[in-house]
Amino acid sequence: MIDTRSFMIAAYTVASAIYLAYFASLWLRARRVREKIAVLRENDNGRSA
């Protein structure tokens, strides 16, 4: 007989971990893209000045 409760908890944990990983990936990607935009805008201004 397997321990049903621990399987249930494991399922909740895995699901939450997948969601958290996705939030983190979105957040990191957004931060990187914003940094890139800032750099590109700066270059742009430097060149036109």
Binding site: F7, A11, A15
Partner: protein
Amino acid sequence: MTTVPLRGGLPPNREPQTLEAKPIFDWFFGVAVLAVIALYIRALMFTPADALQGVAQKIYYIHIPAWLSAYIAVGITALMSIVFLWLHDERADRLGEAAAEVGLLFLTVGLSTGMFWGRVIWGAWWVWWDMRLTLTLFLWFVVAAYLVLRGAIEDPSMRARYCAVVAILAALLIPFIHLSVYLFAARLHPMPVVLKPSEPSLSPQMLVTFLSGFVAFTLLCLALIRARYRLGVLRDIVAGLEMDGDVR
């Protein structure tokens, strides 16, 4: 500089500039996360366990809403692909991309939580005779292929066209996979068991948890698509700026 031109003859970015300043995760996302946390607490602490399946049945509360969200997201992708081929509006393409990625996320969650449930109820992590499991696995592959294709093409207009075509063909494909998996499953397993493996009888309390699960995860799905869409907007701004740099 107010407009952001895109490569490959797409119309100029019709997105309002204010969208750039907005955070990826806003109040809507906050509400969705709170709803999911509330659901977790209710499902784990305040909902009685099923008489037949024991506590394993509680996996349903996160498993089935994940399916619903996945189908909403994948449906949006298919719909937006048709809209894109019709109107050639890059917003439809971006929404399709966002929904596909979120769809893949929910499919992954659905598959993995389903496997835990299967291990308890069927005694196996994976069974090929369960139609939903097999069907979803193939759907997962189709969505993954769509996203890989997105990543492999640089020209935005070509990417949008190719991906829309693949998404529409995939929508045609699903009924065929459905039918062949159905026939395969029907041979291996008596049908009533495949369709309803000990369907739990829901007490009113469970029903409320179930319905709030649907609401919470649908909110999360929409919030994530919204967040991913905004990321797409930022990406296109980068592509536009890089393009400007090349031209100059």
